[in-house]
Structure formats: C-alpha cells, structure tokens
C-alpha cells in the first residue's frame, strides 16, 4: 500500500488513478485493522501479557455492526458519517497523488466533523472530549502545515506524485521536520502521553472522551476511520524516504513501533504540556529546519 507508484498518476491516466483509489479503499482498512491488531499484540507483550489475536480489531468492528445503536440525537451519527467520508477522501487524494495542501485541509475538515458529532451528543464527557480534540488539533496542525511547506521547498511541488518521485530521500533535507512530525504523530495516533480526547485504554479519567456517546455501527465507523487515517499518516512518513520504497516502508513501520513504545512508556500529560511541547517542536524542529533549508539553498 505504501509504495503506490503515485508518480505516474499525474500523467493523466484516469484509469490508473481510479484503480489506485479502488485498491486504497479496499486495502487501507485491511492494513489499518491489521496494524491496530499488531499494536495491541505488541502492547500486550510489552506489558508481559499474551494479548489478543492479530485479527481482534476486525472481530470488534464486526460485532459493533450488530449492536443496537443508541443515540442522544440522531444527527450525531450523521456527523460521524461525514467524518468517515472525509477521512477516506483525505487518504484517497493522498494515494492518488494530489495536492498535499488539499489533503491537509480535508483531514482538518474530517476532524471538525468528528468534534461536531461529539458536541451534538451533549454529554459532559463527550463535550470535554470534543474540547480536548480541538486542543489536539491546535497542537498538531502547525507541524502538519510546516511539513507540507518543507516538502514544497525541497521538491518544488505540493503534488504528492511529484514529492514521491523526487530522486533523493527527503529525510536528508528535512530531518527536523521528520522528528517534529513523529512527535505530533503520537497525538494523531491517539497514544499516550497525548491521548487526551479519547484513550485506547479503559478507566482513564474521561471514560472514552469524545466517543463516549457513540455505540454500535457508529462506533464501528469511528474505528474504521481511524484505520484509514493511520494508513494515510504512515503514508506521509513514507514520503520522507520515498526514493527508496523499501526503506520508506521500513521507516513507516519503525515509526509505528516507536509510537507504540512511547504509548507504553508514558503516562498521560496535561493539555497545557501537550500544546506547549508540540508548538515548541514545531518552532524548533519544524521552523528551524525550514530556516536552515532556506539559507543553505
């Protein structure tokens, strides 16, 4: 999935784009679910447990589809549907090789729908989760945009197809941006220490935060959206080393493993710490990298 030949798409081969999007639609959730299963297995091993089977996330989603869907207001599910739709759209644009800026805007829009869904549910838990989700978005958004700018400065294009076909690994020019992006990935993957709006683990102080009021099929949508999103995010990691596809895939997997390790090592931090540290990372690693790049060129 990660080494799709996006470079040839922009030539106008509509069929090829459609094919890539079809492959993405089918295989991204499979890969995402598998990664989630591996995550749970590795986490369990890190905690000296046996852990669930690798396919556990799929069992969970299949089960949730058959559960009753309890809602506070029916429209809350509508927002979540659009969250899923725009997450899929984001990944589709990305893997088809379109504009990175458009991809980022679509991702943000998806996040906003998620927050609106939680607000619509009008429960104190989901309100708090939604507010924290907004804080998380504030925390990671600068870094995501800086990544796009950095990639543009190196490759001269915002098009992912062009970035993908750049002959040298971007990591060589953008090490700071890469580290900063890995930092905010912990937020995006909803991992400790930044799993403020919702946690994968039960019995944290917010119950399940932003997803408290969602059940049944809607909860399954959220889970599937998360799979799509994870694959897309690892795709961005891959871009940092796209000139060597194998190394790029290994880089993405290594980052994923590291995020799991961080998740198991750290306790949750306060939102102030999250905001300050991720902005500091964006300013020092991200902006610093861009300034250095500007003067070296």
């Amino acid at each position: 999935m990660l080494d799709l030949p996006g470079g040839h798409v922009r030539g106008g081969f509509l069929m090829k784009t459609i094919l890539i999007i079809m492959v993405y639609l089918i295989f991204a959730p499979l890969l995402g679910g598998l990664l989630a299963g591996i995550d749970r297995w590795i986490s369990a091993r890190m905690q000296a447990r046996f852990g669930p089977p690798i396919w556990q996330p799929f069992y969970d989603v299949l089960k949730l589809r058959q559960k009753e869907n309890i809602v506070v207001r029916r429209s809350q599910n509508f927002y979540i549907f659009f969250f899923l739709l725009f997450i899929i759209f984001t990944g589709g644009l990305f893997f088809a090789g379109y504009d990175l800026l458009l991809v980022i805007f679509a991702l943000t829009l998806a996040g906003i729908f998620f927050v609106l869904g939680a607000y619509k549910a009008s429960s104190p838990y989901s309100f708090l989760g939604a507010e924290r989700e907004l804080l998380q978005m504030m925390a990671y958004e600068p870094m995501v945009i800086l990544v796009a700018i950095g990639m543009y400065m190196v490759t001269g294009s915002f098009y992912i197809a062009d970035i993908n076909s750049f002959p040298h690994p971007l990591l060589r020019y953008l090490p700071g941006l890469f580290l900063g992006f890995v930092f905010i990935l912990v937020i995006k993957f909803r991992k400790s220490p930044f799993d403020l709006s919702m946690s994968h683990h039960a019995h944290q102080e917010l119950v399940r935060g932003i997803i408290t009021e969602f059940s049944g099929k809607t909860l399954a949508w959220i889970e599937i959206a998360h799979w799509y999103e994870n694959v897309f995010l690892l795709g961005i990691v891959y871009l940092f080393c796209a000139s060597q596809p194998l190394a790029g895939c290994l880089l993405a997997l290594a980052v994923y493993f590291m995020v799991i390790l961080v998740d198991n090592v750290f306790a949750r931090l306060k939102w102030q710490t999250m905001l300050e540290s991720s902005w500091a990372a964006a300013a020092v690693l991200g902006l610093g990298n861009i300034i250095v790049l500007h003067f070296l060129r």
């Binding site: 905690q47 447990r49 969970d60 309890i70």
Partner: protein, 310 residues
C-alpha cells in the same frame, strides 16, 4: 468464523456494595496473570460500548438506580453477570435494612458466579458462559427483526398473560428512564392484578415467530372506550407497530364515539403517537409533585368516518 460476539465481548464493571473482594478479583482478571484481553475481553468503562454488565456486591437503596441506569444504557443484545455470592443473593447482608438483595432484584441477571470472593478463573468462566446467552439473544434479535412483516395481531388468552407481563416490564423501562422512577404502575404490576384486569378488559397481542412483541388492552365504560398499557418490545419500536395496535384496538369497539387514553407528561413519544392517531389532549392531572397525567381523547363523529377525523 463464529459469531463476532464470542470473540469480542466488551464488559463494564460496577461494584454495588459489600466488601469489594469480588471487585478486586474482577480487576485481577485484567492483569498479566489472567489477561482476559487474550479472549478479546475489554473493560470499557462505558456502558454504551459494552456487551456484558458485571456486577459485584449486593445492591443497596442508594445505588439501585445506578445499577438500573447502567443496565439501560447498554445497547442490545446485552447480558448481566452477577459476580460473587452477595451479587447472587445478598448473602450475609441480605437482612440489612438498606440492602435490596441480589442484583436480580433490580435488573434481570443471566449468569450467576457464586463465591466469596469469586476466583478470577470462575469470573472468566462466567463471562464465557454469558457469551452463549449473548449469542442466543442476538439470534432472537436478528430472526425477529427479519420477520416483522409476518406479524399477527390477535386477541390474547389467559395463558399469554405471563409473557405479556414480562413484555410490559421490558417496554416500560424506557419510561422508567425518563422519570428516573421505578414506581410507575406498569413496572410494578403483579400477575394477580393482571389476571383481574384480564377478566374485565380485551387484551390484544402481536406475535412474531411465536413470541409476543406487542400488546394493548382496552375496555368500554358507558359511551367511552379506554385504551391502556400499550407496550412494544424495544427491538420493534419505531416501526409503526404502535399505530397499528391502536387501530386494531379501536376496531374492537365498533359503536364507540369516544376513545380515551392517558400517559405521563414527559412521555413525548407516546403523546406524539396518540396525536398521530387522531387523539387530542383534553386535560392534565397533577398526581404528585413530580408526576402529571395527560389525558387524550378521540371523538368519532359517525360510524365509519374515523379516517376523516384525522
């Protein structure tokens, strides 16, 4: 591949009272030694995500409503496992003035795990046993929702009364949720009272696959026919069954010009249902500080013109 329910049972745990021994043993199941996550079991901490409700300890006056509230928030299909002897029967606490008894005094329990404290192995076994019940409930749910078009509406017999009473208690839980009050009459009706009503009223039942999923009763006094205790199983609500039952019941009183029903003031869904079927509010009655009855009537001008009335 079997049912996903067997592979992904998510639990929520509530400790009602007593010594917390079983509470600690439930949490011990999550530790690396027992590691229930290997069976796909997750402690969700959120009733809306859970399939299995684990209750430890006997239920007391103060947390009776908490237990009911959590139970009501679990999406169907759901099962309840009572863990430890206190949750099963109240045990040594059963005679205390503030103790209700076992969990089954306040919510329906599917699996009992005795023990003091119940060992983690027994708790895990109890959860696995409950999966069979969960699967049965899921099958009933899906087979019934697949055959809603084959339902039969007919007069109920004396032998249907226990099932009707059980259905009434399930269906009126949504009302209990609205008023946070378990003293509503339909929830506390006894079999004897129901049998008495059966002698003076006409009972209708809706059957799907041999199970009663809806009921209504009515009687005529003077010029007015009174409809009451309409109940539809939660799986089948919102599918037009309520309106159909009202129409069927009305047709049992053909020469009647006036129909009357009552409901409770916050039950907007019921009021909407009756208004949709041509009923109009004509009086309210304050019966206690927190409860108000709403009376609705439907006047039929001439025989056979019921449809125009709307």
């Amino acid at each position: 591949m079997g049912s996903p329910f067997k592979k992904s049972p998510w639990v929520i745990h509530y400790d009602a009272s007593s010594c917390n021994g079983c509470d600690i043993e439930v949490l011990a199941c999550l530790t690396p030694v027992y590691d229930v996550e290997r069976l796909g079991i997750i402690n969700t901490g959120n009733p809306k995500h859970a399939d299995i409700f684990l209750v430890t300890g006997s239920v007391n006056e103060q947390n009776k409503e908490v237990v009911q509230n959590i139970y009501q928030q679990l999406p169907e299909p759901k099962v309840v496992v009572a863990i430890g002897i206190c949750a099963t029967s109240g045990c040594i606490f059963r005679d205390c003035y503030n103790i209700q008894g076992g969990v089954d005094k306040v919510i329906p329990v599917d699996v009992y795990v005795p023990g003091c404290a119940a060992r983690p192995e027994a708790i895990i076994d109890g959860i696995i046993q409950s999966l069979r019940v969960l699967e049965e409930k899921r099958q009933i749910m899906s087979s019934m929702s697949g055959s809603i078009d084959q339902m039969i509406v007919e007069k109920a017999n004396q032998s249907d009364l226990p099932e009707i009473l059980a259905l009434q208690k399930i269906a009126y839980q949504s009302e209990q949720e609205i008023y946070a009050n378990s003293s509503l009459e339909p929830l506390n009706q006894t079999m004897k009272e129901l049998e008495q009503e059966f002698r003076s009223m006409t009972f209708l039942k809706v059957m799907v696959n041999g199970k009663i999923i809806g009921t209504i009763r009515g009687y005529k006094q003077g010029e007015t026919a009174y409809l009451s205790r309409e109940a539809v199983h939660p799986y089948f609500q919102g599918k037009g069954l309520g309106s159909r039952l009202i129409k069927e019941m009305e047709s049992y009183f053909p020469l009647t010009n006036r129909f009357e029903v009552f409901t409770w003031f916050k039950s907007k869904r019921n009021i909407y249902l009756y208004e949709k079927n041509g009923y109009r509010q004509f009086k309210t009655e304050q019966v206690s500080e927190t409860m108000e009855y709403v009376y609705l009537e439907k006047i039929v001008k001439a025989k056979g013109s019921q449809d125009e009335e709307q």
